[in-house]
Amino acid sequence: MRGMTKPYKFILATFSFVAALVLSLGLSMGRAEAASPAEQFIADNVQKAMGILNNTASSKDQKKTEFQNFLLGLTDIQSIGRYTLGQYRRSASPEDLTAFDAAFKEYALSVYQSYFAKYSGQSLKVTGSNQLGANDIMVKTVTVDPKKSSAKPFEVNFRVQTVNGRTMVVDFSVEGVWIRELERNDFTSYLGQKNGDVKALIAMLKQKAAQQH
């Protein structure tokens, strides 16, 4: 009996230490603050997106169209597109720019649609926001998987600005990777190989958009 005491005591001590640690760490968590307008804007739109993607009454094609229309109203696609041209924006002709805007819109809608559709079983929870400038707010969210609570959440952030009196998303990121920057690197590198030929880029974007269907 006496021989049992020592390891038993050790295990008990370890467990109580661990339990104390859990409590002290657990108590320091939690946050309660009123949502800012930008945070509310993202929260509302996440709800809307979930409604579209999880609507069992609509067909796959209906969902796609509905979600793309939703994205069109929510994001400033033209400004994202122009940004992705980088240094080639200045040398492009007005006609090429107009054609690029249209091709980029088609590409971005189908690509973003496919990204978000993949996560349709999950939701985003707004966790806070950062003021980046006078008219520039970053709203922070994390993924929530209702089917798997142990799933590691990842951070999805939205950059919100007021454009022509409308609140719009001008950029978004997943785990620190901003889509605008990513696409600019992609497109400008491609343009570099094609001697800055925007027409070649437009043709490629159309091809990529068609692949999604």
């Binding site: 760490l25 240094q87 990777v177």
Partner: protein, 233 residues
């Protein structure tokens, strides 16, 4: 420790190298070679790694995969704690120590991630990030054979992390073989978790090499800031 000091110095020197004229700001002076290595890596991935990761995802049940991930992460926790301390992040080091103690005991050696259930969330750190916190620049982009996107600072960091891992110094039977198994499982599991995402990115990009480079750089910068937003731009 002498090795670590050497690596730090090497990292500072390499990371501090001045790069030639670079109008696009991509800091990729070895792009031609990097692209060749990238193509080689993609070939290896398509031939060996991806099919293995796909089979692993299909045949190994999710519960088993999650337990394996959790065990591998738990084994890696001391390296994270060491880097947290080197970055003077005492509270993050405390969190990881807590996770390690909880998951190694109640979590049966890491098989179950009990700590996350308690709300004590995991994070990752490596010596490349520590060097960055110490002010070492990343230097030119490097595509490493088999290991993928990197730069001098992060390549040095990878080696230093082996030195920071207590498992390196525990000499048990068939040490090298078990370290190999651990590395293999880590690679296969990580690849399996990114199957869909990487497929999507490759399909949607016009220049996969340039997209992967931006992806790596942006994500690394985010990890170095510990997820805090960038202060510039």
């Amino acid at each position: 420790m002498r090795l670590l000091a050497f690596l730090v110095v090497a990292g500072v020197l390499l990371g501090g190298c001045a790069s030639p004229a670079d109008p696009a700001g991509v800091n990729d002076p070895y792009e031609a070679t990097n692209r060749e290595i990238f193509d080689f890596n993609l070939m290896v991935d398509r031939t060996f790694l991806k099919p293995t990761a796909e089979r692993y995802q299909t045949y190994v049940p999710e519960v088993v995969r999650d337990s394996l991930r959790s065990t591998l992460d738990n084994l890696h926790a001391p390296v994270v704690v060491a880097n947290d301390l080197l970055q003077a992040e005492a509270s993050r080091a405390g969190t990881m120590t807590g996770r390690f103690l909880i998951n190694s005991t109640i979590g049966l050696g890491g098989l179950i991630d009990v700590a996350t259930g308690f709300g004590i969330e995991s994070h990752d750190e490596d010596f490349g990030q520590t060097l960055a916190v110490w002010g070492v620049g990343d230097g030119p982009y490097l595509m490493l054979p088999l290991l993928g996107p990197s730069n001098p600072r992060d390549a040095v960091g990878r080696l230093a992390d082996v030195g920071l891992d207590p498992v390196t110094y525990i000499k048990f039977k068939r040490h090298v073989m078990w370290e190999g198994v651990r590395m293999y499982l880590n690679i296969v599991d990580t690849r399996a978790r990114n199957l869909e995402t990487l497929d999507g990115i490759e399909r949607n990009s016009l220049d996969f090499y340039a997209t992967a480079r931006s992806l790596y750089r942006q994500n690394r910068a985010y990890q170095i800031r510990n997820g805090m937003p960038s202060t510039d731009e």
